[in-house]
Structures are given as structure tokens and as C-alpha cells.
């Protein structure tokens, strides 16, 4: 176990260094001048030159890279965003709670969808068409589901709100940054309900592809488990099919859907860009889209590093969860 954690930690740092190097090299290819971007189009060249010196852009490349690594690993500094003129780390911390809240909600949605689809297809004889739902869900581009949700559920039928985190202006901004939780802490259940409603549509959109993927993995994994001897034994003891699944098969089939869930986190992080853009959700996805639009690669790199680290950590946790769920999996 200790060896596993150490290896994983070493891997994390290694991947981060590689990612840093990759994007640092990419930064050199950029057509835009970060110094000019920082001072605006109308400023004279002397102001730009001063900014260039301030940002260290006049130094040789290896020094710039050294400086970047030094700032990153020794001070947790991701550099300064040319768009917001603020430390990228601070920007990300500011935007992170909104995204985390959305991702957590999306994962919950995905688990529900995955369980319903897999168990439905397995246990209900009339539910064979679920296979088609699975295929369709795996084929829909994320912006199609998002746009249809906006158009129908928000705009046409007014069932759910579709823009931003809250309809109210004086929402609390702390302490957790999760609007649903903060509202409850502030003793405002109505605001919390409003926040949940705003959360629903983007979370559904984001969670659907993951739910479908997890559902597929769980289903095929369950199919295999149900052929095992011990399941036959359980059946012969007179348990219903539902009881067999609940008491025996589910736990032993958890490994594949769990690793699928871990992998899908990567997809969620990419889809976050589109979902947050479509639903005006003020998190790191929107931050990245805005940074992309202004060639603020420092910010894009910062997001990639932070989410990349999160992705690796989550997948390590998934492996732990697999070991807990299924004793046959060793680390």
C-alpha cells in the first residue's frame, strides 16, 4: 500500500513536469505577445517593452522555464493571467467551487443513470430497448443534449432554469463556495432550492455521457458475474434475481464500472468547457473558454495542470475504491 502511494505520487509529479514542459514549449509558438495582451491594444510600444521586462519575457528560454518551474513547485505559483492580470492560481481557486459543485452533481446523476440503465436491462425483460438508449446516449455530442435541454426544459416549458448558478443577486459567496451548501448554512432554504434547480440542467447534461458509459460497463460486468458458480448457488438457495444482484453480483461487478467512471472524469473535464459555456456556469470551464478566446495560454496551462493533477488523484482513488469493493483486486 505504501509502495503504491509513493509510486503514484512520483507518477503525479512526473506527469506534471511533462505537462509543464509540453505547454511551456507550446507557449513559445504563440502568435500573440503576452506583454501586449497585458497592457491593451492602444498602449504605446514603450509600455509594452516595460511589461515584457516585468514578465521576464526578455530572458533566454531556459531561464524562463526554470523560473516557471521554480514558481510552480516552490511557490505554487501558476503565473499571471494576461486576461485578468491576476495570479492564475487565485483565479482557479475562485472558479473551482462552482465547477466542483457541478461535477459532484453530475457524478451523482451519472451513478443514478448508470445503475438504472444496467439493472433495468439486466432484470426487466421488457427493457431490452435500453441497449438503444445506451447507444444513443453514447453518440450524442454534449452540446446537442445541452442545447435541447436549454430549448425545451428552460425556454419552451419553463421546467428548469438554464443560465448561471442562481436567479438571485445576493447569493452568499462562502464559506464552502458550494451555493447549495452555503445557502443552507445561511439559513435560506429557498435560495438553496433555487440553486439546486439551476444545477439540474447542466448536471444532467454533463452526467449523461458518464452515466451511459458506466451503465454499459456495469451491465457487461454483471452479465459475466451472473454466470459465476456462486451466483448459481445463490439462485439455488431460492433468492430472487433482484436479491442475487443486490447481495452478490453488484459488489463483485464494481471494478469495471469504477475504472470506467475514473476515466470518464477526464471526459467530464473536457465537456465542462462546453457545458459551462452553454449554461453560463461561472467555473473553470468557462474560465478556460474565456482564456482560450484571448490566447491566455498561461491560464489554459494552469487549468490543464490543476485538472490533470486532479484526474490522476481521482484515478488513484478509484483504484483504492476497487480494492475496497472487490478484495480480489490487489494494489
Amino acid at each position: 500500500m505504501k509502495r503504491f502511494l509513493l509510486l503514484r505520487l512520483a507518477g503525479l509529479v512526473g506527469v506534471l513536469v511533462v505537462m509543464t514542459a509540453v505547454v511551456f514549449v507550446l507557449r513559445q509558438l504563440l502568435p500573440a505577445d503576452p506583454a501586449r495582451a497585458a497592457v491593451g491594444p492602444n498602449a504605446p510600444e514603450s509600455v509594452v517593452a516595460a511589461k515584457r521586462v516585468e514578465l521576464g519575457l526578455d530572458q533566454p528560454l531556459y531561464l524562463q522555464f526554470g523560473r516557471y518551474l521554480d514558481h510552480l513547485f516552490l511557490h505554487g505559483d501558476l503565473g499571471q493571467s494576461s486576461r485578468t492580470s491576476r495570479p492564475v492560481g487565485g483565479d482557479i481557486i475562485g472558479a473551482l467551487p462552482a465547477s466542483l459543485e457541478l461535477v459532484v452533481a453530475a457524478v451523482l446523476v451519472a451513478i443514478v443513470i448508470g445503475l438504472v440503465l444496467a439493472l433495468g436491462e439486466l432484470l426487466l425483460p421488457w427493457a431490452k430497448p435500453i441497449r438503444w438508449i445506451l447507444l444513443a446516449g453514447a453518440s450524442a455530442p454534449i452540446f446537442l443534449t445541452g442545447l435541447l435541454g436549454l430549448l425545451l426544459l428552460w425556454f419552451k416549458w419553463h421546467l428548469l432554469p438554464g443560465g448561471g448558478r442562481s436567479g438571485l443577486a445576493d447569493a452568499p459567496t462562502g464559506p464552502t463556495g458550494f451555493l447549495t451548501v452555503d445557502s443552507l448554512l445561511a439559513g435560506r432554504p429557498l435560495l438553496a432550492w433555487d440553486a439546486v434547480q439551476h444545477l439540474a440542467l447542466p448536471a444532467l447534461t454533463l452526467g449523461l455521457p458518464m452515466g451511459v458509459a458506466v451503465g454499459r460497463a456495469l451491465w457487461s460486468s454483471l452479465l459475466g458475474t451472473m454466470r459465476q458458480d456462486y451466483v448459481r448457488t445463490a439462485r439455488s438457495k431460492g433468492l430472487t434475481e433482484g436479491q442475487v444482484v443486490r447481495r452478490h453480483a453488484l459488489r463483485n461487478s464494481a471494478a469495471a464500472p469504477l475504472s470506467m467512471a475514473g476515466l470518464q472524469i477526464g471526459l467530464i473535464l473536457a465537456n465542462l468547457l462546453i457545458v459551462e459555456r452553454i449554461f453560463a456556469w461561472p467555473g473553470i470551464g468557462l474560465y478556460t473558454v474565456q482564456s482560450l478566446g484571448t490566447d491566455d495560454l498561461t491560464a489554459v496551462l494552469g487549468v490543464a495542470l490543476v485538472t490533470g493533477a486532479a484526474y490522476i488523484v481521482i484515478n488513484a482513488l478509484v483504484d483504492l475504491a476497487q480494492a475496497v469493493a472487490d478484495p480480489r483486486v490487489s494494489l
Binding site: 502568435p31 500573440a32 505577445d33 503576452p34 501586449r36 495582451a37 497585458a38 497592457v39 491593451g40 491594444p41 492602444n42 498602449a43 504605446p44 510600444e45 509600455v47 516595460a50 511589461k51 486576461r83 485578468t84 492580470s85 491576476r86 483565479d91 475562485g94 472558479a95 462552482a98 436549454l150 428552460w154 425556454f155 419553463h158 421546467l159 428548469l160 432554469p161 438554464g162 443560465g163 448561471g164 448558478r165 442562481s166 436567479g167 438571485l168 443577486a169 445576493d170 459567496t173 429557498l190 435560495l191 432550492w193 433555487d194 434547480q197 439551476h198 459555456r277 452553454i278 449554461f279 453560463a280 461561472p282 467555473g283 468557462l286 474560465y287 474565456q290 478566446g293 484571448t294 490566447d295
Partner: protein, 519 residues
């Protein structure tokens, strides 16, 4: 750009709003707030609007963006300002001023009774401190005061600026939305912290305007409450909220759905003719001329080729499809609100240049303006095709154009933009775009004859003579095909709930005046 104002003076009103928002889908809460009014609660004096981008910094000496200008100008004021709907210079924090005959000394008499949001009174010392801060090399807008030699405060209500050389455009630059603003002693003194308050003023404010910056949540939105110490007429709105909604499509949906009171900028022109019931349009002129920058180094080296492109760009053929009734063909290389040309520009006809060969062209536009420019580009591609020129278009990062000059052979052949000059002075337009070495002369265009005329104009104090020289220089550039003016495009506000008195000014693009707006 979305600002969201929700009255919260009455706890009861908030509770009612929340109840309503909680009982129905949150998406309709805006409409429901309106219903609350008709049932007898206090009139809704909050304004909800949106911004497409974050306000990077609220510091008036560092913010060069357009999107959040309205918010900054609701909090900070300068000595002078353009009057509503005009480019005429009026007093603001200065009630009057004199200029010495040599054009070197400006003496401002400050308005009495001006107080900052903190309650402290404004004196000439505050003005001087603000100007000194602006002149520091730390701040990107310092070039506004680059010509200042010295400043004096002979009395608490007198402020004197001495220049190194005459600057006929100085007062215009003071009227610029990016021009010098007066920051209060709290902002400059209490929170100085060794960085001239640069950190504190990024997300706090201390100004003399009708509103206070009461909440600044990066990436999410801003809130402004009425300034109880405001020296002027009390604004009708008790609060303004502006949340960040980067996608204009989302803003459109939100204003149609009642989640926003107005879309300040960027509402698609294509949809103005068929607005849903309850939405209204307010259009006004600004100084952002729709213009095509021509790259003279890559595929359009000869004047004949540029003439052929000019024929293909002629706005008469597409302007209606792009903007409907909200634009007119450009009259000159200056926005119509800035200058009227002495003689109309001559557009070449396609037949006169039929035998000139032009290679396939690349059109670029800034991503930040993609909403408008990608349609214009699509239309231009279609029209260029009709004169036998193939073209493609792509959006570029907003910072990319300033780097074109480094490798003109990789830059696009045509760049489309509606740039806003700093002020309504034609010199600011000519200096920025058309002069050799100008800050936004992105393709490094150079026309020595025009440069000469502009140089003479810059040193001429007589407004009529000045403008004539700027006009002549631009004519030369148009004839050579260095820059092609396309359209005077109106700025359009789409709003609901019968809003009035937007206080728009040509020199302050994309933004309404929160202080004057009423319902």
C-alpha cells in the same frame, strides 16, 4: 454584459422574491419580480445586466477594456466628460476651465460639494494625487498624461496642469472613458500598501460617481449600490448587478426569459427585426468604425490589387444583410460622429479592375468581436467571390493583431474590426491607425504623404484646419487601399420593462449610464 440589480433595502421584498423564485422555476424569477411590483411592494429599482467578459481590474488607471466601462464610469468620474449623445465637452468634477493662449496651461475650477463614496470631500489635492498616480509607469494608461510637465493646486478648488507642448486633443482625452479619473483618499492613502494601491483598487473602489462598488466576485459578477454621498442627482436605480455571461446566445435567452433587464452590447443584429413581445431596441452612434485593415505585404502588394479588393468590399452590397437598418455605409476613415469628409470617397467598380489577378485571401477578425465580424466576413467572402476573389476567414485571439507586424507574410490579408479610439478627436483615430508606427497600424502601413499631413494637423490648434488636414490624409490612404472603411454601425441595447434614459455617448461604446437610466 449583464448587470443585475436587486433591491435589498427591504428584507420583505427579498423574501417575496425568493419565495417566488423558489416556487417557480428560477428561470422566470425576473418576470416574477416584476409581478411583485404590481401587487404593491416598493417599485423595482434594481437593474439586472450582464457582461460578456470579466472586468479584469476595476482600477481606472489600469483598465483598458470596453466591456466594463459603464460600471467603472458609474463609480469613477473625471474632470470633464462628453455630454449625453454628443462629443461636446462638458464639465463634470470641474465646473469650468481655461486654457492659456499658448495652449500649455489648463486651469480647472472644481465643482463644490463633491464627495467620495467614503464621505470625504474632494479637493484639488485629491485630483493631483490621482493624476500623479496615473502618470506612474506602473499603470498601463499612463500615456494619457505623458505630455504633462507639472501640476499645481493653488487653492482647494483650483487645479492647474502645465504641458510640455500644446496638445489640442487634451480635453478630449480627459473625456475619454479611459481618461484620468479622480480616486479618493481612501483608495490612494489608506490602502496604499507600497504598490500605490494597485492591489486594493483591483477589486475595490473609491470614486465620486453615483454608485458604489459593493461586490466584486471574479468570474461571477459585480454589484453596485447607490452612493448615498453622491454630489449630483440621485440615480433612479438603487442598485445594479452585472453578472458574467460570456455567451451572447445565453444573454439573449436570459433577456427574453426575464432574467436580465437589458443586453448592453452584442445582441445579434439578425434578430432585431423579430424581437419577441416585451423587448425593445435602443440604438445610438459610437466611435467604433467598422473597418478593413489591408495587409500590403503578402498577397496585395500592388495598388491595383488593393483596388480590386476595395471593389469587393464595397459596403453598399452587403451592409443591409449584415446590420439591417442599424448601419450606414462609412463616409470616411473616421466615424461619422467624429468627422465629415469634405468630398465623398470614390469606390472603384468591379469592371474597372476585372483583369487584375488576386490570389486567394485570408480574412481575420478578433475572437472578442466574433459575434459581428464572422457574419461580416461571411458576407464579404460571398461578395469577394462575385468579383473573382477567393477568401476564407478565421477568428484570431484578441492579442494576435498587435503581433502581425513581426511576420506580415503569415498575417491575414484583411483584418476586420470595430476598434474604439480613445476619444472623439480625429487625431486619436489617425494616430492610432493610419500614421506610420501607430499603435493599431497592425500591418505596418506607411504613407509618407499622409504622415506629413497628420503631423501638421497634430500641431494645429484651429479645429477646422486640423480636421481638414486629417480628412485629406485619410483620403490619400483610402485611395491607396491601405485601410478601407466599411460601416458606421450603431450600438444596440435590447431591453425589457420600458427602460429609458440610457445616457449613451458616442465616446463610451457598448455601455449605458447607470446613473441616468430609469424605468
Amino acid at each position: 454584459m449583464t448587470k443585475r440589480l436587486l433591491g435589498r433595502s427591504l428584507l420583505a421584498a427579498v423574501l417575496i422574491t425568493e419565495l417566488v423564485a423558489g416556487c417557480t422555476a428560477g428561470g422566470t424569477s425576473g418576470t416574477q419580480t416584476g409581478t411583485t411590483n404590481s401587487t404593491g411592494a416598493a417599485p423595482d429599482t434594481s437593474l439586472k445586466t450582464a457582461l460578456q467578459t470579466d472586468i479584469a481590474t476595476f482600477d481606472p488607471d489600469n483598465n483598458f477594456e470596453v466591456a466594463g466601462l459603464g460600471a467603472i464610469l458609474a463609480v469613477y468620474q473625471g474632470l470633464v466628460a462628453y455630454g449625453p449623445g454628443t462629443t461636446k465637452i462638458q464639465g463634470l468634477l470641474a465646473k469650468s476651465w481655461t486654457v492659456s493662449p499658448d495652449g500649455l496651461t489648463y486651469t480647472f475650477t472644481l465643482r463644490d460639494g463633491v464627495k467620495f463614496g467614503s464621505g470625504k470631500s474632494m479637493t484639488s489635492a485629491d485630483v493631483k494625487a490621482s493624476f500623479e498616480r496615473r502618470m506612474s509607469s506602473k499603470f498601463v494608461l499612463n500615456y494619457f498624461l505623458a505630455g504633462v510637465a507639472s501640476m499645481q493646486t493653488p487653492a482647494p478648488n483650483l487645479f492647474v496642469v502645465k504641458l510640455k507642448s500644446p496638445e489640442p486633443g487634451l480635453l478630449d482625452s480627459f473625456c475619454s472613458p479611459w481618461g484620468p479619473k479622480i480616486v479618493g483618499p481612501d483608495g490612494l492613502g489608506t490602502h496604499k500598501a507600497g504598490d500605490q494601491s494597485a492591489a486594493w483598487l483591483t477589486d475595490h473602489a473609491d470614486g465620486t460617481g453615483p454608485f458604489l462598488l459593493s461586490s466584486f466576485v471574479r468570474g461571477q459578477g459585480y454589484k453596485f449600490d447607490r452612493n448615498p454621498n453622491y454630489w449630483g442627482e440621485k440615480p433612479a436605480m438603487s442598485s445594479v448587478s452585472a453578472k458574467i455571461v460570456p455567451d451572447i446566445g445565453q444573454q439573449v435567452l436570459q433577456v427574453q426569459n426575464g432574467d436580465l433587464d437589458l443586453v448592453q452590447h452584442g445582441y445579434p443584429f439578425t434578430q432585431l427585426a423579430s424581437l419577441p413581445a416585451g423587448l425593445q431596441v435602443e440604438a445610438y452612434d459610437d466611435l467604433g468604425l467598422e473597418m478593413a485593415f489591408i495587409n500590403p505585404t503578402r498577397n496585395l502588394k500592388s495598388a491595383a490589387q488593393r483596388t480590386k479588393v476595395k471593389a469587393g468590399l464595397n459596403p453598399a452590397g452587403w451592409i443591409n444583410d449584415a446590420f439591417g437598418k442599424y448601419a450606414t455605409p462609412a463616409k470616411s476613415l473616421y466615424p461619422s460622429a467624429m468627422l465629415t469628409p469634405a468630398k465623398p470617397y470614390q469606390w472603384p467598380t468591379a469592371s474597372s479592375v476585372a483583369d487584375v489577378a488576386v490570389p486567394p485571401l485570408e480574412i481575420g477578425y478578433a475572437a472578442g468581436e466574433a459575434g459581428v465580424q464572422q457574419r461580416v466576413a461571411d458576407l464579404l467572402i460571398s461578395q469577394l467571390g462575385s468579383v473573382g476573389i477567393k477568401a476564407t476567414a478565421r477568428s484570431l485571439s484578441d492579442a494576435e493583431p498587435s503581433n502581425f507586424a513581426k511576420n506580415l507574410n503569415k498575417a491575414p490579408d484583411i483584418f476586420l474590426a470595430q476598434n474604439n479610439p480613445d476619444s472623439a478627436d480625429p487625431g486619436s483615430q489617425a494616430g492610432l491607425f493610419y500614421t506610420t508606427g501607430g499603435g493599431l497600424n497592425i500591418f505596418g502601413y506607411s504613407n509618407p504623404a499622409a504622415d506629413k499631413l497628420f503631423a501638421t494637423a497634430n500641431a494645429t490648434v484651429d479645429i477646422g484646419k486640423r480636421n481638414a488636414l486629417y480628412d485629406q490624409g485619410a483620403q490619400l490612404i483610402f485611395d491607396d487601399g491601405g485601410f478601407v472603411p466599411l460601416a458606421d454601425v450603431k450600438d444596440v441595447i435590447v431591453h425589457r420593462g420600458g427602460l429609458k434614459n440610457f445616457g449613451t455617448k458616442p465616446g463610451v461604446p457598448w455601455n449605458v449610464d447607470f446613473g441616468t437610466i430609469t424605468r
